[in-house]
């Protein structure tokens, strides 16, 4: 019947559009919320709590946005957490003398410099990105310790005065986060970078023969990743009222929340709405974590949940095809 065919065609067209993806994400968020709300109505999901989930999730979403470029190209970076630590501490250090400007510029510029360094090293040494960034993680963590040692204030690494904590709450945290999201959306939509990163991830060899400078764009990917991480550091250090320098790869723990959002973004890439996917995805992750806490699942099991959730997301979104060699 004509009418039926027409509707089918319209639905098929709708299915490929970005609205479909976005709506699917919202539906998923609502479902997860409803799931936990039903199980523990008192501790979870009230209006205030939802606002707090949102505020928590946007910091990871900013990191997730940056990670997008790298993951899309098939690369990886283990030094994400180390960057957050180092950028935060530089920001704190500079804020002692230069106030907000020190904090903001310290975080963001440090992030960007780290990105340049990572990208350069990766290009020069020609080792798989995952391995080289393990070494970088060790180095960055050490440097972070030196930075803390330079902080001569009475609470090294901490932001104690309320006059510097504007980014720990509305409206400034939202302004920073939304600016970051818009930056990602802008880059993807209005520059060649998004297209080329997608092309490289799709088939590096063909991309090269199309004249794309693969090495250059991989470096650009690292710079962008760490730039966004610098922004995330600004939020993280404000939320946490300071930052702790660590050693022994403890910073790796900070890698994974942003990464989960990135996986959402990559999974929804084909619907054309990666930015929304990262943001809503992180929100969903935050709901899951908070929901489990509300259910009185012991906090010591936090790591277990991180591992389980990440494993599930990866299994659902990133499986290798039949016959490919996966290492």
């Amino acid at each position: 019947m004509e009418l039926g065919d027409d509707m089918n065609e319209k639905f098929a067209k709708f299915k490929t559009g970005k609205y479909f993806g976005f709506i699917a994400l919202i539906v998923m968020a609502v479902l997860f919320w409803a799931f936990f709300k039903i199980l523990t109505p008192k501790n979870f999901g009230s209006g205030e709590l939802i606002i707090s989930y949102l505020q928590t999730s946007i910091q990871y979403a900013v990191g997730g946005c940056g990670f997008y470029f790298i993951v899309v190209m098939g690369l990886f970076d283990m030094s994400v957490g180390a960057n957050i630590v180092l950028s935060s501490l530089v920001g704190v250090l500079l804020s002692r003398q230069y106030g907000y400007w020190g904090l903001i510029l310290g975080c963001i510029i440090t992030g960007t410099l780290i990105g340049c360094f990572n990208g350069f090293l990766y290009s020069k040494i020609k080792i798989p990105s995952m391995i080289v960034t393990i070494g970088l993680m060790l180095i960055l963590e050490s440097v972070a310790n030196y930075v803390v040692a330079l902080d001569a204030s009475s609470f090294p690494g901490k932001l104690t005065s309320d006059s510097i904590l504007a980014f720990s709450r509305a409206p400034w945290n939202y302004i920073v986060a939304v600016s970051a999201f818009m930056l990602l959306a802008f880059i993807l939509r209005y520059t060649k970078i998004g297209t080329y990163c997608n092309a490289i991830g799709s088939n590096e060899y063909v991309a090269k023969s199309m004249g794309i400078n693969v090495e250059k764009y991989k470096r650009v990917g690292f710079i962008l990743l760490h730039l966004f991480l610098g922004v995330m550091a600004l939020l993280t250090v404000s939320y946490g009222r300071g930052m702790l320098a660590v050693t022994g790869m403890a910073s790796m723990d900070r890698n994974f929340k942003p990464l989960m959002g990135t996986f959402f973004g990559v999974a929804f890439k084909k619907y054309g709405c990666p930015v929304s996917a990262v943001v809503v995805g992180e929100f969903i992750i935050t709901i899951i974590f908070n929901g489990l806490v509300a259910l009185n699942v012991p906090t010591t099991i936090n790591d277990f949940i991180t591992g389980a959730v990440l494993l599930t997301i990866v299994t659902l979104t990133n499986r290798g095809a039949l016959g490919t060699v996966v290492k």
Binding site: K13, N198, S209
Partner: protein, 498 residues
């Protein structure tokens, strides 16, 4: 005679010792559709790939409108006015249709580093509409479209900027009827606008129908250029073949009877997307050749027999009734396989000759579960010497060997395993004459020992020279069967391939 737009002067291409294109000097006129035909390995795709910047030129040059063409990438070639629609997938997943069309050429839409996506999408859609492909939408991710539609997008991508020369490389096989008509429509339009199309195809009647002139390549050399209106498909076939059989290498016997004993039965084997309902019987002491065009599925048959195919239906059984379903089982039951993709599937490049030779035979070489290294060394040395692998020692890494010696390592391994059935896919591809002769001699010797060989090859002379029986495949099915006899010629085989 029309005006010449593109000319090649003594173009040569070497891949290692293979001289793929030999001194081809050819000219193409403005406002013509010029067919380029030849068998597998005749050099037509290689020639066009050099034109379009996909391969580098070994020597010689191309002159476009009198100016030398120096291109390093496809995008360079496009900017000079030359483009190609490739045989495989030329679009990238993860990008929109518009992004694919303008990949590498976005500068038109860039102002101060900012890409005007809306303008890009609009122009892409206008182009798609103009080409009659309006149902494909520019801002949609190309992943949502099937292979056919993606090819149509490639047509737009390769021709929207009015290139002077467009190469259409075997594209018609990928398209259905309406797609093909659309393609020819645009080829005609390009011709009528005064530009040139180089049309590569194996469908000879299609070539005659849609081209103005046809050039024939054979073994990398230009044979002739003819007017399409003045030839028939038979004429073309004759021009495509017609070489001397060059006797020293191949077998000189004819009419020797083949044993009736069936050692391997392939029944109704289907691999979705590759081969359909293939049934074969291999006899003891027989050399069975399988030939066809490169995409006819013959390579997959080899994999299917060896148990290496994914999703294979049907049965492959040995004379004692054992079904072969996996590679370890095939090897255990004396089947050997030498893949066409030598570097990835046949030899382990980053490993020693010794490891490569011993690997399939490890179970046989172990006493209990233990392997003694002296035994392995001896085994490897013996078999490498048996076939005269040119090496510095069995600890040498295979990556340092020439193509011919790599192939010898592969054969040495199966000789060591003493396999009764050998499936050899393109055994002499890219190998120099001396080693080729060695390999043919080896095959003759194995045949005398009562071993059975399946030889899959894209080189017709090889099949005619060595096989007792030849199966010709086309579009995934067996299309013809010939028995060895001195009167059998290339035209007979080609007739069944195309």
């Amino acid at each position: 005679m029309g005006e010449v737009v593109l000319r090649s002067e003594n173009i040569n291409k070497h891949f290692g010792i293979t001289h793929a294109v030999q001194n081809v000097s050819l000219s193409f006129e403005k406002g013509e559709i010029h067919g380029l035909i030849g068998e597998n390995g005749s050099g037509k795709s290689t020639y066009c790939n050099m034109l379009c910047g996909i391969y580098s030129i070994s020597s010689g040059r191309f002159l476009l409108d009198g100016q030398e063409l120096k291109v390093k990438t496809q995008v360079d070639a496009n900017r000079s006015g030359v483009s190609i629609i490739v045989q495989e997938t030329g679009t990238l997943s993860g990008l929109t249709v518009a992004e694919n069309i303008f990949l590498g050429n976005e500068s038109r839409f860039m102002h101060g580093g900012i890409k005007n996506t809306a303008a890009m999408n609009k122009e892409a859609q206008d182009l798609l509409d103009k080409y009659g492909f309006g149902r494909i939408k520019a801002p949609v991710m190309i992943d949502h479209y099937n292979f056919e539609d993606r090819k149509l997008v490639e047509i737009v991508k390769a021709t929207y900027f009015n290139p002077k020369v467009v190469v259409v490389d075997e594209t018609t096989t990928a398209l259905n009827q309406s797609g093909r008509e659309a393609l020819f429509q645009h080829m005609n339009r390009i011709r009528n606008e005064g530009n040139t199309v180089i049309f590569i195809s194996h469908n000879l009647s299609e070539v005659i129908e849609h081209t103005d002139r046809i050039s024939i390549l054979r073994d990398g050399e230009l044979i002739d250029t003819v007017k399409s209106s003045e030839v028939t498909t038979d004429d073309l076939k004759r021009l495509m073949v017609g070489r001397e059989l060059g006797g020293r290498y191949y077998r000189t016997d004819f009419g020797e009877p083949i044993s009736d004993e069936v050692v391997l039965t392939v029944e109704n084997v289907t691999v979705p997307g590759e081969i359909e309902d293939v049934s074969i019987q291999l006899h003891r002491g027989e050399i069975l050749g399988i030939g066809g065009l490169s995409e006819c599925g013959m390579h997959e048959v080899g994999k299917a027999i060896f148990g290496a195919s994914y999703g294979r239906k049907g049965k492959v059984t040995l004379s004692n009734g054992t079904a072969v379903n996996s590679i370890p089982k095939a090897i255990k039951h004396s089947i050997a396989y030498a893949s066409k993709d030598r570097d990835n599937e046949a030899v382990i490049i980053a490993d020693s000759i010794r490891d490569n030779i011993c690997l399939p035979s490890l179970n046989d070489l172990s006493t209990g579960k233990i392997l003694k290294h002296s035994k392995l060394d001896k085994f490897a040395q013996e078999n490498a010497d048996r076939i005269s692998v040119k090496m510095t020692g069995i600890s040498q890494y295979v990556s340092n060997l020439s193509g011919g010696n790599k192939q010898k390592v592969v054969l040495a391994r199966w000789l060591g395993k003493n396999s009764d059935i050998l499936v050899l896919d393109s055994p002499t591809r890219g190998i120099d004459v001396k080693v080729k002769a060695d390999i043919y001699a080896l095959m003759g010797e194995l045949k005398k020992q009562g071993k059975s060989i399946i030889m899959i090859s894209e080189e017709i002379p090889e099949l005619l020279g060595m096989a007792d029986r030849i199966l010709v495949m086309k579009d995934g099915k067996v299309n013809g069967e010939y028995v060895r006899n001195p009167k059998l010629g290339e035209e007979d085989l080609i007739a069944k391939m195309i």
